[in-house]
Every structure is written in structure tokens, then in C-alpha cells.
Symmetry: C2
Subunit: 86 residues, 2 copies
Amino acid sequence: MAVEVVYRSSRDPEQLFMDKAEADRHDKMLELAETLGEVLQRAVPSLDEKTAEEVSLFMAQHRDAFSKAFKNNPDALSEVFTNNNK
Amino acid sequence: MAVEVVYRSSRDPEQLFMDKAEADRHDKMLELAETLGEVLQRAVPSLDEKTAEEVSLFMAQHRDAFSKAFKNNPDALSEVFTNNNK
């Protein structure tokens, strides 16, 4: 037995990480999802809270592909259904 | 009276532009919105088609802000409600 350091995001206390960089990525992903959810619900009143959360979390989990798509390459989104960790 | 050149995107034939670059931007915006709509509906089954379209069009109309948000700066989204042409 030994004491060990684990890391977590205060936005999702149940998810523990052994690696600080991974915890940090998770926290940043959740921060993006939160902001997206707020903006989309404000912009589209017919979007209910639960669906807004799902949409936002999905996009934040695939932030690299969405970043490329918004920059100049919508086709980058084809990768989101073949690579779930991007 | 004179004949003049106008431009339009085949995705939205009713919207005419005097400037080709503007028509091109409009076409690219609609292309992005279309792709986003397809991806989000596939990823989030509870998202109905009309709402998916609204969400996607909104994001495509503000692609610069969303591009920054997905890259590394969620706060960039604060500008979407103060500047409607970004």
C-alpha cells in the first residue's frame, strides 16, 4: 500500500487521472462544452438543455476536427465517426 | 437599363450578390452549416432536424468565433452576441 497522487477536474470530480496533463485536457474539454452549451441554448431557444449538453459535449470531445471544420475544412468532420478520441 | 452580373450560391438560389467573393463566402458558410447539421444529427439522435439546422446555421454564421473557441479559447464565443456578422 502507498499514497499516490491522482488528478481530477473540479467540473467532474468522479473522473480521476494518474496524469496531470490528461486531467487538464479533460478540464479544458468540459470548459469548452459548458461554454458551447450556454451559447447554443441562448442562440436557439428550441434547443432543450439536455440536448444542448449532448451536442456540446460531443463537439468538445472532437474539438480538433471541429476546429479544422470551422477554420476552413468542413470535410475534417468525417473523422469524428472513425476516431473517437480526437 | 443594362445587363449586369449577379452571383449566387446554388445552395440558396434566392440570395443574390453583386460581389463574387461575398457569394463565395455565403456558399462556404452554407456548406459548413450543412455538414455540421448532418454530423450533429448523427451524433445526437434526440436532436431534431429543424433544431439541428438552426444550431448549425448559427455556428456557421459565427465560424470565426467558433474556430477560436475550438482551437483554444472558449471565451471567444462571448463575441457572437455582440457582433452578428462574424
